[in-house]
């Protein structure tokens, strides 16, 4: 197991009290695995991703631990985390398009970044050029400013820079969301290629787009309102999801070929509950068409089939009855 997260609880301290976008979350990502992390906005996906690298110092770790390759990460200590960033764990941020410093040419940016982590630019320049070549960029981009590159090119540069030191874990936050379909496909395939070439050992791909995850991810973890809803292999999630939330999310996606005249898709009514004051029990109960009395209690996140974990009373009962 490359990454093991146990009972992680992250809070933002506000004047109105703690807001917990990650509440008692446990999962693991294996060696060579791309895990997709899906859910609506405001479900805690990005907080979970950034908490693993401690990008936001306003986050308070209220409990739990994170292990990477058997070593516990000091995710509550900003300074101690420096040692691990980029070398062991790296992040492509949500707005990778604007993640590059606009006043630096790419070469200078890369050199600065490497120096911060104690690596000389000269040692790695050849490898950098090889990797740029791999993603279809010629070495000329090194002498350009970020504004001279298109969105897809910037996204690829960010991907190359953040994986340059072969980190064990890459967290990719919405890397394909702002891109055109063809660029989306190119970036998605590059992520798989990077994994296959062992530039990164494992990857967490955060997105609200399940159809991208169906393409690139090995397993998918669905989050709802700060808690885990369902985790399974990506084929299982796409073809036979068990949690009502996953089912509704999938049902709201129009596939190519589905026309309004033939099939009317439906969205999920309502929106995720406010995390400052989440409801007791199952947090999806208010929007769930199958909610019943027992949903007043919090359902445990249990394995109902091998490799398939769900937090839902109804599913647990049905599986037990079968």
């Amino acid at each position: 197991m490359t990454v093991r997260v146990e009972n992680l609880k992250i809070a933002y301290r506000t004047l109105a009290g703690d807001v917990c976008p990650v509440d008692d979350v446990s999962f693991s990502v294996g060696d060579g695995e791309i895990m997709g992390l899906a859910g609506e906005s405001g479900c805690g996906k990005s907080t979970l991703g950034t908490s693993l690298i401690r990008l936001e110092t306003r986050m308070a770790v209220l409990g739990g631990k994170v292990e990477l390759d058997g070593v516990e990460l000091p995710i509550d200590d900003d300074r101690a985390m420096r040692r691990y960033r980029m070398k062991e764990i790296s992040l492509v941020p949500q707005y990778a398009m604007s993640a590059l410093n606009p006043t630096r040419k790419i070469r200078r940016l890369a050199a600065d970044l490497l120096r911060c982590h104690g690596v000389g630019y000269g040692e790695i320049a050849d490898e950098l050029r090889r990797r740029l070549d791999l993603v279809g960029l010629d070495a000329g981009v090194l002498d350009r400013y970020p504004f001279e590159l298109s969105g897809g090119m910037r996204q690829r540069v960010t991907l190359v820079l953040s994986t340059l030191l072969n980190p064990s874990l890459l967290i990719a936050d919405e890397v394909t969301s702002a891109l055109d379909v063809s660029t989306q496909r190119a970036v998605g395939e590059l992520m798989m290629e990077f994994r296959d070439r062992r530039f990164v050992k494992s990857m967490i791909a955060i997105t609200h787009d399940l159809s991208i995850l169906a393409q690139i991810a090995d397993s998918i973890l669905v989050m709802y309102a700060g808690r885990l809803a369902e985790k399974a292999g990506s084929d299982t999630i796409v073809n036979s999801p068990l949690h009502p939330y996953t089912q509704l999310l999938l049902a709201s996606l129009p596939a190519v070929g589905v026309r309004h005249d033939d099939t009317t898709l439906v969205g999920i009514p309502g929106r995720p509950p406010p995390l400052s004051n989440p409801p007791a029990g199952c947090r999806f109960a208010d929007r769930c068409p199958f909610a019943y009395a027992r949903c007043k209690e919090q359902p445990p996140f249990t394995e109902v089939r091998p490799g398939h974990q769900v937090a839902c009373w109804k599913v647990a009962e049905e599986v037990q009855a079968a």
Binding site: A186, E189, L190, I212, V238, I268
Partner: protein
């Protein structure tokens, strides 16, 4: 007669700086939109789709060609005529959060409309009008009135803008990437809303880069590539029987739930994936590629 006719519209942007030159954002684009019809305009970044939407809304003017709304060329509109034009034609844009002024309450957009278009409507009738418009977009007035934009979700804000358009006698709605910032779970509801408005007789120009969404709502599809029409026709024909290599490449790249980009075990050709079908090298010719009709109503451009 069509509600909107776009005739041979071109737009050139002069690019400043050392490399100074001309960007051909649109090249002689022509198509019509009828009453009760959704036309989807699909293109990648830089294809000119937003430019066309802005030209129809007269936020910018075309370099050549004309846009005819109900028989009148919109280029000739003066101040008063333009005000009347906006009574019938409204636009909604991508980012709902930047469409509103964050320091005012969201429903102030209705009051601004009232000052311009309905100064003599009494308060009670006005309230009733707003309530019926909100009902048409399935919003509960209690949830959205008297709130600031940050208190509302993206889907609610977009619906408020649609409700605002409905207060007018809107005949044509320009929806530019209205759902790309929304969650998948609310996207479909907005799309269904657009379809119900279409059934009520509205003409909609739906601008998007997402092919599956375009396919879901539209009656006709126009695919733009480098400012010119690559393919257009009835949506089932364009999606079911694509002729242009660009359309095929776009359709191939769409991530689908049940169909992988690659069969397992096949070797990935990364260099092919990073080649953008939209951005072939070389300058863009001034003249658009010629269109030929391959089946009734289905036009395809010759490959550039």
């Amino acid at each position: 007669m069509s509600t909107l006719q776009i005739e041979q519209v071109s737009k050139l942007y002069r690019t400043s700086g050392l490399a100074g030159g001309v960007t051909r954002a649109l090249r002689e684009v022509s198509f019509d939109i009828d009453q009760g019809e959704v036309v989807t305009l699909i293109g990648e970044s830089g294809s000119g789709k937003t430019t066309l939407g802005k030209i129809v809304l007269r936020l910018i003017t075309a370099s050549s060609g004309k846009v005819v709304f109900q028989g009148a060329d919109i280029a000739g509109f003066g101040r008063a005529e333009l005000r009347e034009y906006y009574r019938y034609v409204q636009g909604i844009f991508q980012d709902p959060f930047s469409s509103y002024n964050p320091i005012y309450k969201a429903d102030r957009v209705f009051e601004m409309l009232r000052d311009v278009y309905f100064p003599r409507v009494p308060q009670r009738a006005w309230e009733a009008k707003i309530d019926s418009a909100l009902e048409a977009v399935t919003l509960n007035p209690g949830d959205v009135r008297n709130r600031y934009p940050h208190q509302l979700s993206g889907g609610q804000l977009q619906r408020l803008l649609i409700a605002r358009a409905l207060l007018l006698d809107v005949k044509l709605l320009i929806a530019d990437e209205v759902i790309s910032m929304l969650d998948a779970s609310t996207r479909v509801d907005i799309l269904n809303l657009l379809v119900s408005l279409k059934r009520a007789g509205l003409a909609i120009l739906f601008i998007t880069h997402d092919l599956s969404l375009g396919n879901y709502v539209s009656d006709r599809t126009v695919i733009l590539r480098r400012g010119a029409i690559a393919e257009m026709g009835p949506t089932p024909a364009v999606f079911g029987n694509p002729q242009h290599s660009y359309t095929k490449a776009l359709l191939d790249a769409v991530p689908q739930l049940h169909k992988k980009w690659h069969s397992p075990g096949a070797v990935r050709d990364v260099s092919a994936a990073t080649r953008r079908p939209g951005r072939s090298v070389g300058p863009v010719a001034l003249a658009p590629p010629a269109l030929t009709e391959c089946e009734p109503g289905h036009l395809v451009a010759v490959e550039e």
